[in-house]
């Protein structure tokens, strides 16, 4: 791949959709063991889970959680786009779904932020 081709490919919305889907997928996959470990604190009783929930109230943890919710919405919508491309009756890059992916990220981010500030 020549440098000019690489730059041209990256200026395309579908390349950004690919990049967002890939990076969000890797981060979500790496988060899963941590998420399962946190929930398993309930095995030691409600107090142990509460201790973790208090830890999760720190601003940087909240920000990371918010980021994960946004990534989950982006990966979900971007993934549905890929399934539609691979299994759907249409042809093409489904650019409408790239826009919807960005929209879903915004909606999930706002909904979670509002829930936090209730």
């Amino acid at each position: 791949m020549s440098a000019s081709f690489a730059i041209r490919a990256r200026s395309h919305p579908a390349w950004w959709a690919f990049a967002v889907h890939r990076v969000s997928g890797v981060l979500l996959a790496l988060f899963l063991p941590l998420h399962f470990w946190a929930l398993a604190q309930a095995l030691d009783g409600a107090a142990a889970l509460d201790a973790f929930l208090r830890f999760a109230e720190r601003p940087w943890v909240r920000l990371a959680e918010w980021g994960l919710v946004v990534l989950l919405a982006l990966h979900l919508t971007g993934g549905v786009r890929l399934l539609l491309i691979e299994f759907g009756p249409w042809r093409g890059l489904r650019k409408d779904w790239i826009a919807m992916t960005a929209g879903a990220g915004v909606v999930a981010g706002l909904a979670y932020a509002l829930a936090l500030t209730r």
């Binding site: 890797v26 979500l28 399962f36 398993a40 309930a42 142990a48 919710v69 993934g79």
Partner: protein, 115 residues
């Protein structure tokens, strides 16, 4: 050891089928996240709703299994394409990661739903 094309095709389908299951699971999960957060995040309130809740346990059990198929296969594809890491040793690592996700995920579901 190289994987046969038939096995590669099966893994590709497993990735897509798990994605279809996950699409439904994640929509529900995002709703649960927002609802639980709005209701106030305390262990007492969370566990009061989840403990003994069979529907919750079944739903999240399915969610864990779909994750355990989807995440390792996704990481496997990324490691292959970006790091050129593939082959028997790599597949053994991804299979171990999948089993670890099943074990820790089911443990988490049990932790919050067992009454």
């Amino acid at each position: 050891m190289t994987m046969t094309r038939a096995t590669q095709a099966k893994l590709w389908y497993a990735q897509r089928l798990s994605a279809m299951v996950l699409a439904g699971c994640v929509i529900v999960h995002l709703g649960v996240i927002v609802y639980a957060t709005r209701s106030g995040l305390s262990a007492g309130a969370l566990l009061a709703r989840t403990r003994g809740n069979v529907a919750f346990a079944v739903f999240y059990g399915v969610f864990v299994l779909a994750c355990a198929v989807h995440a390792p296969l996704g990481l496997r594809a990324v490691a292959h394409e970006w790091l050129h890491w593939r082959g028997g040793a790599a597949d053994a690592v991804w299979a171990t990661f999948a089993l670890a996700l099943v074990a820790t995920g089911m443990r988490a579901v049990y932790a919050v739903t067992a009454s």
